[in-house]
Symmetry: C2
Subunit: 336 residues, 2 copies
DNA sequence: GAATCCTATGCAATCGATTGCGTAAGTATA
DNA sequence: TATACTTACGCAATCGATTGCATAGGATTC
């Protein structure tokens, strides 16, 4: 039974002292002499005592927990299965664990904001890490009004008081297109996520800017927005080809989608990069193992995860929110 | 400031009643007349009141939280990036959320058991979901001794009092090999995860059994154990071919690894399945988009995640732990 | 030996919500 | 009118750990 778990009073009784003394001994308070401390610690170990985190956190008015939130698009409650997220999540939880914090995760609807109340006002967590900014300026102001600590995985947000970490998606999108254009590609397709996800939209803006800089005409037939999944990307390819038969390059907003695109193209008998170049985004582990190997834009995923945690803790200590732009890198392999 | 958040006493004062009444009204206690309840609810909403989950959970001696633990091999603290896990995690968190529970996640070392104390004894969580059984019989007994509620993602464990959910990996491994053998393949390689991960070892046993049933000779040169990553699988392929040049099939323990294998083989100029068949395991979303499309064993991932949660809640309600074997399905596509 | 100062420890309040028990009204019954 | 019964609500304890303040008793100083 878990009901017979010893409390601090049980230890106190067994040691013949008061609960205060036990608490202080266990927390290495200097007013308790070392010998007493050692005795109490020993006894606690023997009796298999462990602090009740719930009681402690309640008393200390903290949660010692950080939530990592994954926004999803309302209509499609589809599973996020992009390895990118898992890799980042791993980095985040490890970093939080290192600081003794627990990691809460949840998928939240991108269009509502009531989850912030749920996590902050309910005092379930001390801070929030949000993967991809599915939050408009009003949403950010609302979070700030709650005096919430949070960090968003997204490019810099002008004039907003919020901490961000990510590469500048406008620039990565532009660089991708310029690379394709430099290879002599003209009909460059774009496959992105839904527009409510800000990052994907910034990449679209970068794409437009890149096309402009390269002196290439743009029309909306070249752009397609789907959810962030391999299947969706696979379905998008024939559609894009039907709209624009002379398509000679595709820039996909994630490696996962890009890999699916390559496979579908090959299945249709189109050579990559011979007939069509394909570029991805993120540089996940699998990207270097495909055939042809995927040309992509690398985001330092794990470093990004760690920085988000760091940035959050800076705020815990009273520092103002920082906007961190990560360096990205064009990884030229074989697919483009 | 978050310090001016109203507590239940503030609401009580404003309403001119006692905290008890507010609590009961908010919890729809029948002894409070409907009109009073409505007034108090209204007032609470106006004052922006929300229960402090920490205080409530502490008082109620529960955590309203479930931990999902991902064991990792000691040496390689590598990131888990297999999409399989993320898809399952999504299903789990959604199902927990539906029941009003929070989702805690952590990566834990497979070889130690002190994390169970950390989560159960510290009363951080009400139950544990463990992805892949990195836990021997003693570990299971230890958890039971703590009166912990937990569910393990693994095949049935004989004679152990623990809840499990998964396909029977011995059978899936066997079925995979028999399919390859039925196609006339004789030199069938096996690429698995480290052996401490029980599931991968069971698949190895299934592989051996399948080879035996098919009357094929086995030698250890055909088997390779790596971590569960695309890179590792990619490195494994040339090694396997060097050991056994006549290799005509590979069974990889995950689709992610299988896809990497296919890509590497194609990069080496070997036709799949012409020269070498490749089989995966899991049927992740990407599997149907590759070229050639991947033949694999489907595990019902999302159903599995939901069932783990269900099984855990049955235990919360006093039911004994159940061992659930999920149906698997051979998905024959093009790669084998 | 008295005054002073430490040192080690205990007392009791506190964090916010919940709930068993008690009771003052109000209502129904005899 | 007295008694019994309801209804609606408050009192106070409780969950387990932490911590400001108080203090007993020993050590130190003059």
């Amino acid at each position: 039974m878990s009901s017979n778990r010893p409390t601090i009073s049980d230890i106190a009784r067994a040691a013949g002292v008061s609960p205060s003394t036990v608490s202080r001994a266990l927390n290495n308070h200097p007013t308790i002499p070392e010998t007493t401390r050692e005795q109490i610690r020993l006894l606690a170990r023997q009796m298999n005592y462990r602090v009740d985190t719930r009681a402690r956190n309640f008393r200390l008015q903290r949660s010692q927990t950080v939530a990592t939130l994954f926004p999803f698009q309302g209509a499609s409650r589809r599973q996020i299965s992009d390895p990118f997220y898992l890799e980042m999540l791993g980095a985040i939880t490890d970093e939080l664990d290192k600081r003794g914090y627990d990691s809460l995760i949840a998928r939240v609807p991108a269009e509502s904001t009531d989850w912030c109340e749920r996590y902050i006002l309910d005092k379930r967590v001390d801070g929030i890490l949000m993967i991809d900014r599915a939050l408009d300026d009003a949403g950010i102001r609302a979070l700030n009004a709650l005096d919430a600590r949070f960090v968003i995985w997204c490019g810099p947000v002008e004039g907003a008081a919020c901490a961000t970490v990510a590469c500048d998606s406008r620039v990565t999108g532009r660089d991708a297109v310029l690379h394709l254009a430099a290879q002599g590609r003209h009909k460059i397709g774009f496959i992105g996520g839904f527009q409510r996800m800000v990052e994907t939209d910034l990449r679209r803006q970068g794409y437009l800017q890149g096309m402009h800089e390269a002196g290439l005409p743009v029309n909306s037939d070249l752009m397609l927005f789907t959810d962030f999944s391999a299947e969706a990307a696979a379905h998008a390819v024939p559609l894009l080809l039907k709209r624009e038969p002379k398509l000679d390059a595709i820039f996909a907003c994630s490696d996962f989608m890009a890999i699916a695109c390559m496979q579908v193209l090959q299945g249709m008998g189109r050579a990559v990069p011979g007939d069509i170049s394909v570029m991805g985004h993120d540089d996940i582990a699998l990207a270097s193992q495909t055939s042809p190997r995927l040309t992509t834009i690398r985001q330092p995923i794990q470093q990004g995860g760690r920085l988000m945690v760091q940035s959050l803790f800076e705020q815990f200590e009273g520092a103002p929110p920082r906007q961190i732009v990560l360096p990205h890198e064009l990884i030229v392999r074989e697919s483009a």
